[in-house]
């Protein structure tokens, strides 16, 4: 059996206004590495995720890589079996991902692709990276995401401005379904019930997505300068056959045939203040733009370790206006789903390296032969954010489409942490709600 690794391209666009910069050798690397890493064959891979509806998704099947002149062809036919319920053979545990892509030009160029898929997708992937979500589920029995099933086909056209920056257009025809949480192992708390995976809207949708990824950071892992910008617009048309559960104000008049427009901007800026100090900022704005109300799969929330860690994830406080999930009028639906139509989150972070802790690297922490070293960095951070509904103004929860909530209604927190490079330990305290106790939490690599 041939083994293949899907290598990410640790790329190197250098748009920081440098006076000279060496050419990107990674995107166009030659020789042994490129030939070996692009070998065709059979692949067996975890989806590098772990969650309460899938457990570990195991992907297997053939991949094909070939090139004709400057065109690179990649194709794969992957079956998916999920470890939930002890790999039980049923429709929720089976899926597939079939892709074919032609890419012209390395670095700058374009790509055309088609795919067919039956996969589980997080509702809000912008909040938390896969490693954090997966490890929290595996160790802590805490799943900080909700999931829905996407089954359909997609065509994609991408213009690559560099190895890490691109403009893309997707068109897809897909069916959405609402999977249940299942029996999934966790190291601690195994056997306890998982938080319910909220019931989302089921139906058939046609989606057109325009996406821009601009990445001028000097390094993907530990950036100290540059921008990372994701701008996305989605126009969706579809028919909801089974409505998910919502709070009363969230969707007062459910409509089966909908057309909506939705945007998401995620802007991150990294600044170096000195050789050992950086100051970084992130701003996320997302929400409804036009048309009918957003389906539940396209709604937003804040709170928890990915956004405002001083506030517990999906916590329900009876009798309060919930600007995190936008539920109102009593007990929220099971799982306390994201129901906001718009969201705004700002994060600031000051990082100071602490080289005097380097004695910790005298012996690297070793996991399965991989030596992880630590890079101790003290972190101080501030977060603010909230979600809201769009409509006639109502009780600090719903605002007209042209207005923006005043800052005093935002949830805010402050925090400190020690980032060891591999894992960071942080403590966050809510500021806007003094009764909230401080939260201690872990993050893998950086917060953003």
């Amino acid at each position: 059996m041939c083994m293949v690794v899907a290598c990410t391209l640790p790329a190197l666009s250098s748009a920081q206004g440098v006076d000279t910069a060496g050419r990107d050798t990674t995107a166009e690397r030659l020789g042994l590495w490129a030939r070996t890493s692009r070998a065709s064959g059979l692949i067996l891979s975890s989806g590098k995720t772990y969650n309460r509806v899938e457990g570990v998704p195991v992907l297997f099947g053939p991949v094909l890589h070939d090139s004709v002149r400057s065109a690179e062809l990649n194709a794969s036919v992957m079956g998916i079996i999920r470890s939930a319920n002890s790999f039980h053979w049923d429709s929720q545990n089976l899926g597939h991902r079939i892709t074919a892509e032609m890419r012209v030009g390395r670095g700058r160029g374009y790509a055309l692709g088609v795919s067919s898929f039956d996969v589980m997708t997080p509702v809000e992937p912008w909040q938390l990276p896969d490693p954090d979500a997966g490890l929290a589920a595996l160790f802590g029995h805490r799943d900080f995401r909700d999931y829905f099933n996407r089954h359909g086909a997609r065509a994609t056209a991408t213009f690559n401005m560099s190895a890490r920056s691109n403009l893309a257009v997707n068109w897809s025809d897909e069916r959405w379904g609402s999977p249940e949480e299942r029996h999934v192992f966790s190291v601690f708390g195994n056997g306890k019930p998982w938080r319910a995976n909220p019931l989302t809207d089921a139906g058939r949708f046609h989606l057109a997505v325009f996406r821009a990824n601009i990445d001028t950071r000097n390094d993907e892992v530990n950036p100290s300068t540059g921008w990372l910008i994701l701008a996305e617009y989605e126009r969706g048309t579809g028919t909801i056959t089974d409505f998910g559960l919502t709070s009363p104000l969230t969707r007062p008049f459910p409509k089966a045939d909908i057309t909506y427009g939705r945007a998401l901007f995620d802007l991150r800026r990294y600044n170096r203040l000195s050789p050992t100090t950086t100051f970084n900022a992130r701003l996320v704005l997302g929400g409804w733009l036009h048309g009918d109300e957003l389906p539940l799969e396209r709604r937003f929330s804040v709170g928890g370790i990915g956004t405002i860690p001083g506030f517990d994830f999906r916590r329900y406080d009876p009798g309060t206006v919930d600007v995190s999930q936008c539920s109102n009028g009593g007990t929220p639906p099971p799982g306390n789903p994201a129901q906001c139509e718009r969201v705004a989150v700002g994060q600031l972070e000051y990082r100071q390296e602490m080289p005097f802790f380097n004695f910790l690297n005298a012996r690297p922490i070793r996991l399965r032969g991989i030596g992880f070293t630590v890079e101790p960095t003290a972190v101080a951070f501030v977060d603010a954010g909230r979600g809201w509904l769009v409509g006639p103004a109502f009780a600090d929860l719903q605002y007209s489409s042209h207005s923006f909530p005043r800052f005093g209604t935002f949830r805010t927190d402050v925090g400190l942490g020690l980032d060891l490079g591999l894992i960071g330990v942080y403590v966050a305290k809510a500021v806007s709600s003094s009764k909230e106790p401080a939260n201690v939490f872990l993050r893998v690599h950086r917060r953003f």
Binding site: V5, G17, W33, S224, F372
Partner: protein
Amino acid sequence: MPRLPSISALVAFLLAAPLGAQKVHVDVVPPPENAWVDTAPAVASAGLLADGAMRDLLANGFPARLHYRLERWASGRWFDDLKAAFEWDVILKYDVLGKKYQVVRVVNNKAQSLGEYPTADMADDAIEAPYRAGISLPKKGQRGYYNLLLDVETLSLSDLDEVNRWLRGELKPAVSGKKNPGTAVGRGLRTLVVRLLGGEKRHYEARTGTFRP
């Protein structure tokens, strides 16, 4: 969110893993006599490929790739400014038939052989020898420093390889009663954690002190 018991358990789990390997050094060596405007600094390292797992994988024909990015920064009043960057790769592969280690440096899309060596130690020496990068030099009076980013990637750390090693190395003896099943499960868990942490790539950084040429 993970509370203290699970946090401490995870940290203990990580630290309980077997320790001990040669310490890794990555250094940006200042030019002789601090001639910053005339000579670029050299990049040297030690122990990058020394651990047993890496050697085992190399010996089985899987290549390793080291991607270097040397940056020159100017100190600013508020923010420091990235003035120049230079990137290169070093690729190491064991030729199983020829029984020799091949070392290639790729700079500006051009591959340059650093030689073929009969042992991994000799190949390591070739890789880790000081290399003076072709980065542009600072102007006189421009206060700044150099910063090096290094990613070491091993192709062989695929899921299938890890699963095979686990099945062959730990699970099979455990199933046959020759090894503690708990250890096998623990190692399987560590494998999963490594996958989630993105352990197929190791990242190092080094920098010079601030200078004014």
